[in-house]
Each structure stands twice: as C-alpha cells, then as structure tokens.
C-alpha cells in the first residue's frame, strides 16, 4: 500500500507540474511542432527537424524559421509539408506517406499481427481438439483466488513446502 501511495502522490504531483507548465510560456503542440516533427533533418543527425541536436544546424534552423513564416502567411500543416516535399523529395518526410507503395509500410505490421493471432488461435484449437489423457480426466491446478480460498492456500503451502 505504501508503494500505491507513492505512485498516487507522484501521479498527482506530476499532473500538477504538467498543468503548471501548461500555464506558462512554452512550445505547445502547435502546427509548427507538428510540421517540424513531420520533417527529417538533412544534416545527417538522423533526427526530425523538431529534434535536431545541432544548435546552428544549416538545415533545421532555417527550416524552423521558414515554417514560422509560412504559418504566419496562413498556410496549414499539410500545405507546408507538401511544400518541403516538393523541394527536397520524399526523404524529407519523417514517416512514409499513406498512399501507393508506402502504404505497405503501414499495413504490413498490423496484417502480420492479425495473421499471427489467427495462427495462434488455429494452433491452439487443434491442441484443444486432442487433449491429453491427463487433461481429459479434468485434472488441473487450483486456480488463483483470494487468500480465503482454501484450495489456493493448500496449493501455496504445497509449493512453499517444496521450496523449503
């Protein structure tokens, strides 16, 4: 319970701190940030324009300034990203687009997971269809339950005895 209290206190304090931070001047998740995170820095740092670690980066710094100018001119995030894409090519985007061949990047992982889940279910169904002699008898360990459950207590005591 002490651990639970500590976690609750930290959650409350962290939440309060985040709220305090929100009340001050800061870089919110604005269009500028979204665009900067959607572009990859071309200086070789491997990070996004938002995260490039070179303070005087020849790519990220002017791009961030340009994003600010374009936002001030009334362009939205998609238009700005489109502009940079036209200028530097697809490699400037920090994630594949969701069209054409690039769509494969997005759909293959979930398809693989679904196929994997189907395989697990299919395999398990086959296993369940041919239960072993032992399981056919219905023998099983007592399931876990509260300490008031005598079966659980017996099982735990048996295991503890084995361990001593």
């Amino acid at each position: 319970m002490r651990l639970a209290s500590i976690i609750a206190i930290i959650a409350l304090v962290a939440g309060a701190e985040i709220n305090a931070a929100a009340a001050t001047q800061r870089f919110a998740k604005t269009t500028r940030d979204a665009v900067a995170e959607g572009l990859t820095c071309q200086c070789g740092c491997g990070l996004t324009v938002a995260n490039c670690n070179h303070p005087n980066c020849e790519f990220a710094v002017p791009v961030r300034e340009k994003i600010d100018k374009l936002i001030a001119q009334g362009m939205d995030g998609a238009q700005i990203i489109g502009l940079f894409r036209a200028q530097y090519g697809e490699k400037v985007l920090s994630a594949p687009t969701m069209q054409g061949f690039n769509l494969l990047a997005w759909v293959i992982p979930p398809i693989a997971i679904v196929l994997g889940a189907m395989l697990v279910i299919f395999t398990v169904s086959r296993w369940r269809a041919t239960p072993s002699v032992d399981s056919a008898r219905g023998a099983s360990e007592p399931p876990p339950a509260d300490d008031a459950n005598p079966a659980l207590r017996r099982e735990l005591e048996r295991r503890l005895r084995e361990g001593m």
Partner: protein, 672 residues
C-alpha cells in the same frame, strides 16, 4: 608489438579451425582425448585473442601512431579512460572486442561442460568456433586492427567527441556482451538439433546464459539511451534510429524466448518455436552488426562504417539457411503431444505475450528495412522515423503491458471465470483508481491515461502475488512478514525475480509515457543577470566561464534555478571544442527528480554582449526509466541466483546422464 598482435590473431584462427574437426571427430568416434584437445584449443584461442586485445590496448595507451587504428581513433591528449574505450570506438577494435568476448564465452562453455553434456557440448562448441572463425577471418584478412602506417603522424585524429563520454565506456561493452552471449543458447539449440537430443536439457543448460544475454541487452539499451540523453542534447533518449532498433529487436525476441521456454520446461510444448526464437535472436544480433557496419541504412550511430556489410550479410544469410534447414530436418522429432485446455490459462497468456513481442520486433524490423525496400522497388529513398514507430508500436506496447499484468493472475491449464474475476478484482480497482487520480490531476490524453492505468494494474497484480506468498508463508511457518518476504523470494527466486523485473519494466514504461507526452521546451536568449521561466522553475543566467586543457576548450554558463522563490540548484551547461578532432560538442546540465527532469542546453553564446541562448526541456518522469532499468537489473540478478533446489536438480541430471553418455567414466568420476 603489432606483429605480436597479428600473429596472435592468426594463431587464434588456426586454433578455432582445429577445434571443429577435433570436437566433431572426437565425439563421433568416442575419443575423449581428441575432444579434450579441442577444448584446449578453444582455451588457447581465448588466450591468443586476449593477447591481441592487450597489444591493441598497449598501442592506444602509448599513442603508437604507427598503428593505423590508433592514429584514427586516438590522440596524445585523449584522457586515459577514453584511450581504453577507443578500443571499441572504431571498426577493427570493436570487431576484435566482439571476438574476444566470444572467445571468453567459448572458453567458459568448454570449462562448464568438460564433464557434462558430453554429446551435445562438442557440437555447441563447434558452432561457437564456426562463428569465431568468421570474425577471426575478418580480423585477419579484411579489416586488420594491426595494420601499420608508413607515414607516422605526430598526432592522431582523436576519438569522435560524441564517444568521449562515460556512458560510452559501458554502453558498447554491455550491448556486445548481450549480443555475443546469445551465441551460447543458439549454439546449444543448433547442437540439440544436430544430435537429436531434443528434450529441454539444452534449454536448462543455457537458461542462465539466456538470462545473462537478456540482462546485458537490457543494460546495453538503457546505457545507450542514457548516452543519447546526455550527449546528443535534444532532450530525448530514443530516436528509433536503425542502430537503436537493431539493439532493441534481439531484446524483444530474447524476452519472448525467456517466456516461451517456461512452457516447454513445464509442459514440453513449443519446441520448434523456442528453437526458432533463439535462432532469430542470434540472427538479429548479426543483423545489428551488419546495420552498424554496412552503411546500407543511414544512422546517427554509423561511427564505424566500412565495407564489411557484404561479408556480414553473406554470413547472416548462410546461418539463416543452415539453421532453418536444420530445424525443418528435425521438425517431426520436435512434435510432442500438446496439452492445452483453455484460452483462460497461463499458457495462452504466454502465447499472446510472444505474439505481441514478436509483432513489435517485426514492426521495428519492417520499419527499419522499409527505406531499403522502397529504394529497391521505386528507386526513391524515404525516411521511416519516430512518427511511424510511435504509431505502430504504441498500441502493441499497451497490449504487452496488459498481458504482463494478466499472466500471473491466470493459472496454468485453465481458470474458471469466477476465479478470474476474483483474481482480477483488486488489480483492476488499483488500475482504475490510478487512472482516475491521473485524470483528476489534469492528464486528459487517452493513451497516457490508459498507459498509467495499465501500469498500476500490473503493479497491483505483482503486489497481490507478493502478498499471497507472504501470507501463505506466514501461515505455514509463522514467520514475520519481512522474513517471509525474503525467504519467499530466496526460495522461489526465478519466479519472484521475474516479478521484480516486471516492476522495473512498468517503471520504465511510466517514464517513457510521461516523457513522450508531456515534454515542455523553451528556447531563450538572455543577458547576464536576466531570468526566464520554464514550468515552475525560474532560471537566472549569471554569466560564462571558460577553461582550456590541452585536449578541449570549455565554455560553461551558470544558471541559478529557483522554485517559488527558493534556490533549488545551480546548473552549468557547457559548449566544448575538441582540439585534435576539431569538433564541437555539448555538455548538458540535468536536474533530475522523480517528478521531472530540468534539462538545459547551452545552444550558443556571444561573449561580447554577454548573451547566451539556452534550450531548456522540462520532461516529466524520465527518472523512472533509469530507476526501472536498475530494478530490472536487480530482478535479473535475483532470477539468476542459483538456489538449492536447482543445484540438486542439475546434480541429479548430471548423475542420470553420466550413465547414458559415451564418456561415462569421465563424467562419473567428475560429474557435478
């Protein structure tokens, strides 16, 4: 001296080559002396590679620039600690270091198995020697660490400044140890397939090696994250860079393996799957090295690109084909009657845990390789960066955390819905309460709320498990709770060590979610004496101080940090300029608390106007990532600690096997 190093490597290669036929012919024909000579050859190989290591270290410490490697990765002014770590700062040195670790592990395996596993161990050692031959061949013929320069420079090029950091002193060795030690369970898995000894003895023999590998992969990843956090100066610790991904994937697969083998040990199921997993884990360690060395995929970590890529790719493909063929050859022998009763069972939870872990590993693999695929198919180079990985991996991570909590609550074989409700009640209440607390505190983003609730749910399940055990023990032997807890963990260390690891994972998860979703960033230019605010903190800039050593020029800013008018810290971020390398670097200042990290970067300065520009990040809960790492390490040590029952079981197994093995007299005389 360099000649001694080259000679040692040549001899090591000859000894590794000799050990394979000696081991295999010896075990096939029942010639214990020949097998013993193979063992001695492996020990001698280890000694030779150690000599080569010492020679290169001596060259680095003496700044012997006649060695091309030393001239490329060191300088006379480089601090001694970094002269030592420069051994893994470059291509040839890191390959030598890898080979050294492999030779040490081979020597340990040969020693551990000199009187047991007498049929399978020679094959396992032959596989390890095969891997060593590849690396030694690279070092002897392709990328030689003892290559000499004809024109000896007066000064070296210096170690990359980004690598001159104490985390770099321990990150690569940890990661390499994790990578290389995965060879041991892989080699025993392959040996089990070859010798047709397909029971779980190879798993039991290498269980501690697998945990050891996982332990160091965990540490390697965490140390790398900490290095990125402190050195790269962007306020983050993980950028889904290809090389980071390459270190993360074997960790995921090894985690899946460590869970999956429990089903085989308990129920004799999933034999093919476990062998496939250990093959994948080993293959991914080679894949990681291939990515780092080849330059096929651009990476911020490509400090040591070279032409080694095709060799590694060939070796990787060769291993994959051979191992898959071996697995298919034995697939009928690996089939056992499966016993599976219900989806509401621990077995099912483990299966889905494996599915999610491998799913994440696949998603990361796919995202890492997709730029190569795109270039090959469309001729267009694209980038797959953090937005892709975050979006694909984040939901799977939630599923994994849920399974981590649900698994221990479900019994083996089957659980009735009533018992399930009983078991889940307390942890679910705990999770919901934590979610409500977070919501009341102002967190309104659904992912973060779900993540924190699930994290609390998992902690709840672990607390319930510990409480049950302590209560049962207290009831049985009338121990006070503290002693009951200690004895409970000591006598069931594998299980409770696992729970401690889960606590560490939850801590790290909380830190990752907190720091990913709620980071605040401020960039300000201020004059000396001026202040600015970041969250609840006020930072007052008081000026610059510069210092110069023969190695580096340092300009350090001083900031007084106050909160609610009370001074809480003095922070000193700096700009560094490494003279020999002619490169700048950043030294960030971090004030870390369990609630948030205040992270200050000196982005620029103008001494004439006494103006400095600071980039400041206020990142919640980062502290919990590192604490989680420490807890995971602690749990792993607990899980690996040998207990009385296990030692007795091993002794019984050895005694039992001694009568079956070909070299029974030797085993019987010295079997442990």
């Amino acid at each position: 001296m360099p000649l001694l190093g080259q000679l040692a490597l040549a001899l090591a290669l000859i000894l590794a080559i000799y050990s394979i036929p000696a081991n295999l012919y010896g075990v096939d024909r029942g010639l214990p002396d020949l097998v013993a000579s193979a063992r001695h050859a492996i020990w001698a190989m280890c000694a030779m590679v150690t000599i080569a290591m010492l020679v290169l270290w001596t060259g680095l410490l003496r700044s012997d620039f006649s060695l091309e490697y030393v001239a490329s990765y060191s300088s006379t002014t480089l601090p001694t600690i970094y002269k030592i770590t420069a051994l893994w700062g470059g291509q040839q040195g890191s390959l030598l270091f890898w080979t050294w670790l492999l030779s040490i592990f081979s020597a340990i395996v040969a020693w551990q198995n000199r009187r047991r596993n007498l049929e399978i161990a020679p094959w396992a050692l032959a596989v390890m020697a095969g891997v060593a031959i590849f690396f030694l061949a690279m070092l002897n013929f392709v990328t030689r660490p003892f290559a000499l320069l004809t024109n000896i420079p007066a000064q070296g090029t210096d170690l990359n400044p980004l690598l001159q950091n104490y985390w770099m002193a321990i990150h690569p060795p940890s990661l390499y140890t994790g990578y290389v030690s995965a060879t041991v369970p892989f080699a025993f898995g392959a040996a089990a397939l070859i010798t047709r000894r397909l029971d779980d003895s190879w798993i039991r023999t290498t269980r501690r090696w697998a945990i050891f590998s996982w332990f160091f992969l965990t540490l390697g990843n965490l140390f790398g994250a900490r290095w990125a956090y402190e050195v790269l100066g962007w306020g983050g610790y993980w950028a889904w860079d290809p090389v980071e991904n390459a270190a993360f994937m074997p960790w995921l697969v090894m985690t899946a393996y460590l869970h999956s083998v429990m089903i085989q040990e308990r129920k004799d199921m999933l034999k093919v799957w476990n062998l496939a997993l250990i093959g994948m884990a080993f293959g991914l360690t080679l894949f990681g090295t291939f990515i780092t060395r080849s330059g096929v995929i651009s990476s911020v970590h490509s400090f040591t690109q070279s032409g080694l890529g095709p060799y590694f790719l060939g070796f990787l493909i060769g291993i994959a084909i051979l191992y898959t063929a071996l697995l298919l050859w034995r697939v009928n022998d690996l089939r056992t009657p499966a016993e599976f009763e219900s989806y509401l069972s621990r077995e099912a939870a483990f299966l889905f845990n494996n599915l999610v872990l491998i799913g994440i590993a696949f998603a990361v693999f796919w995202g890492t390789l997709f730029p190569v695929l795109s270039e090959a198919v469309r001729g267009v180079k694209i980038t797959v960066g953090p937005p892709f990985f975050n979006r694909v991996v984040a939901p799977l991570a939630l599923g994994l955390i849920f399974l981590m909590g649900a698994g221990p609550l479900i019994a083996w074989r089957r659980t009735t819905p009533r018992n399930l409700i009983q078991s889940f009640a307390a942890p679910v209440i705990f999770g919901v309460a934590a979610g409500l607390c977070a919501f009341a505190a102002g967190l309104h983003r659904w992912y973060a709320l779900t993540a924190f609730s699930l994290a609390a749910f998992v902690l709840g399940t672990i607390l319930v498990e510990f409480r049950r055990g302590v209560s049962a023990r207290g009831h049985l032997v009338a121990e006070p709770p503290a002693r009951a807890l200690v004895n409970l963990v000591a006598k069931n260390n594998r299980r409770y060590g696992g729970y401690i690891i889960h606590i560490g994972v939850v801590f790290a998860f909380i830190g990752i979610v907190g720091s990913s979703f709620f980071k605040t960033e401020v960039k300000r230019s201020v004059k000396s004496g001026e202040s600015f605010s970041v969250g609840p903190y006020d930072l007052r800039y008081t000026g610059l101080a510069s210092r110069e050593t023969p190695h580096v020029e340092i300009v350090r800013a001083k900031l007084i940090v106050t909160r609610d008018g009370r001074e809480v810290a003095t922070m000193s971020p700096a700009k560094l300029f490494y003279k020999a390398a002619q490169q700048p670097a950043t030294d960030v200042a971090i004030r870390s608390t369990p609630v948030s990290d205040l992270y200050v970067v000196l982005a620029g300065f103008d001494e004439a106007s006494a103006t400095a520009t600071f980039q400041v990040f206020l990142t919640p809960l980062v502290f919990w990532i590192w604490l989680g790492g420490f807890v995971m390490a602690l749990g792993t040590v607990v899980a690996m600690w040998p207990n009385v029952r296990e030692r007795a079981a091993i002794a019984a197994t050895v005694r039992g096997r001694a009568s079956d093995d070909r070299f029974a007299p030797e085993a019987a005389s010295g079997g442990r």
